[in-house]
């Protein structure tokens, strides 16, 4: 069936690249998603106090907060604790070490009872007005914004994937058209000696599906190798920030979905092409 191995290889390469673009972007988005979930967790409100707040100011404030019905949990974070945490989490150990005084205020970390954006906002506004509070900050606001941005990205990938899928079907359609033309004599003779349409159609459908499968495998390889290269770079970057982070490749479920999808698209292209071109070859 592979009349020309080079042409077949080029087709598989084209299909592989076309599939690897949306699938690769999907992988990157998945990674971004898991990174965000890791960083944001459940929403919290941080209260930063004025720098001149005394111990009894803090005690008064703690009482007010624990009595507030909208609040689940109150944790006091002293200036010293805050600095330590920053050293551990941010990866900016060296920068912080070079500071000669602690720039951080005392603060409270508050876990609200409700998670809806409107309720959180109302609570944040209420807490901002309390005495000795310099600023009230909704910690996960940025995460929500990023989340929205990711949704946008996902939509972009969906559109890209749809377009490239159509391209893939078109590539297979055309390959099968050429295959049918090259096998014209064989088809005509087979018809004459009693071949059913199904018999004639079968090898072309198999060919389309096989080409799709090999294209899918090619896409998987492209993504895996690219991620390997990226991870090599990410590793260097992560070491510079003194943190541990690596990009995950396609999960086995996603890999399987990729292959099934590519087989299906190849088969679909072949099916459309066969339906259109085979009927034109009638013996005479």
């Amino acid at each position: 069936m592979f009349a020309s191995p080079l042409a077949g290889l080029l087709n598989i390469l084209v299909i592989g690249i076309a599939l690897s673009l949306p699938a690769g972007m999907y992988v990157l988005l998945q990674n971004a998603q898991s990174l965000i979930t890791k960083l944001s967790g459940t929403p919290q409100i941080s209260l930063f106090l004025n720098m001149d707040a005394k111990a009894d100011d803090i005690d008064k404030l703690r009482k007010l907060l624990t009595q507030n019905p909208a609040i689940e949990k109150v944790t006091f974070v002293s200036r010293m604790q805050a600095l330590e945490q920053l050293k551990q989490n941010s990866g900016l150990t060296d920068v912080i070490g070079s500071l000669n005084q602690n720039p951080l205020p005392d603060g409270f970390v508050i876990s609200p009872k409700q998670n809806e954006a409107a309720a959180l906002d109302a609570l944040r506004n209420e807490l901002a007005k309390l005495p000795k509070v310099e600023q009230a900050q909704l910690d996960s606001a940025w995460a929500y914004k990023l989340e929205a941005l990711l949704k946008f990205g996902r939509l972009g990938i969906l559109i890209l994937a749809s377009l490239l899928s159509i391209a893939l079907v078109a590539v297979t359609f055309n390959t099968i058209r050429l295959q049918i033309l090259t096998h014209r004599d064989e088809i005509e003779v087979s018809r004459l000696i009693g071949a059913t349409n199904r018999f004639i159609r079968r090898p072309f459908l198999y060919f389309g599906a096989l080409q799709g499968l090999l294209g899918g495998v090619m896409a998987w390889l492209i993504i895996s190798v690219s991620l390997l290269l990226l991870n090599w770079q990410v590793g260097t970057l992560a070491r510079l920030y003194a943190s541990q982070f690596a990009l995950h490749s396609l999960s086995s479920g996603d890999s399987l979905a990729l292959l099934i999808f590519s087989v299906y698209l190849g088969w679909l292209g072949a099916w459309l092409s066969v339906g259109r071109h085979l009927s034109k070859i009638e013996p005479h």
Partner: protein, 217 residues
């Protein structure tokens, strides 16, 4: 086995290939179809195989009305027919063995049974030693015999041959006639078209003669 009743066949453009043709061929009969080039012999054979359909009249093959047969049923009709084509219609991208194998592959025979049948058919036409040869190495007569092997490998009840001796010299033509006769002796129905009158006279078989699309009495 084959019966035509008042069959007419026109081609687009007003050309009439067959006019009011009626005849019947019994099972196990061997019949020649003679007439000049363009008399309608090929058209008549094509009507039997359902390659063409009549404009009026009925074509019955094995009690099936071929003229109104659905497209999906045609393959099963053709599996009961062995056809030897004027232009051979062999496939040059495969060897002798694989050309004869094709009808069996289409019918879904298993591997071992197929190989046995292919060799039997090749033996009958004297090409058993050439089974691995490529088609370009075969002479015209050998290609014709290969075409016959492909037509009989399926052991069809009816064999149609369109000018099987067309381009062959007399010795070769007699050889091929001998193959057909042996096939007739085992009970097959044969319809063989030829423009060579001497062939039918020498062999003393029933002959249908076409002239300008009409059957001569």
């Amino acid at each position: 086995m084959i019966s035509f009743t008042q069959v007419n066949k026109h081609y687009p453009g007003g050309y009439t290939a067959l006019r009011n043709v009626s005849f019947a061929i019994a099972a196990g009969e061997m019949v020649f179809l003679s007439g000049h080039t363009g008399a309608g012999k090929s058209t008549l054979l094509k009507l039997i195989a359902g390659i063409e359909r009549p404009n009026s009249g009925s074509v019955l093959v094995n009690n099936q009305n071929v003229g109104v047969l659905k497209g999906a049923a045609l393959p099963y009709l053709r599996r009961n027919l062995g056809m030897v084509f004027q232009d051979h219609k062999l496939l040059f991208d495969r060897n002798v063995f694989d050309n004869v194998l094709l009808p069996l592959q289409i019918c879904g025979f298993d591997h071992r049974e197929s190989a046995k049948r292919v060799r039997a058919a090749l033996d009958k036409v004297g090409l058993l030693k050439r089974e691995k040869s490529s088609l370009v190495s075969l002479s015209g007569g050998e290609q014709q015999r290969l075409c016959i092997a492909r037509a009989i490998v399926n052991r069809p009840a009816i064999l149609l041959a369109d000018e099987p001796t067309g381009n062959l010299d007399n010795a070769y033509a007699q050889e091929i006639m001998a193959i057909f006769k042996s096939f007739h002796q085992v009970g097959a129905t044969l319809l063989i078209s030829t423009h060579d009158d001497s062939l039918s006279r020498d062999n003393q078989v029933r002959t249908l003669t076409l002239k300008h699309g009409e059957l001569q009495p």
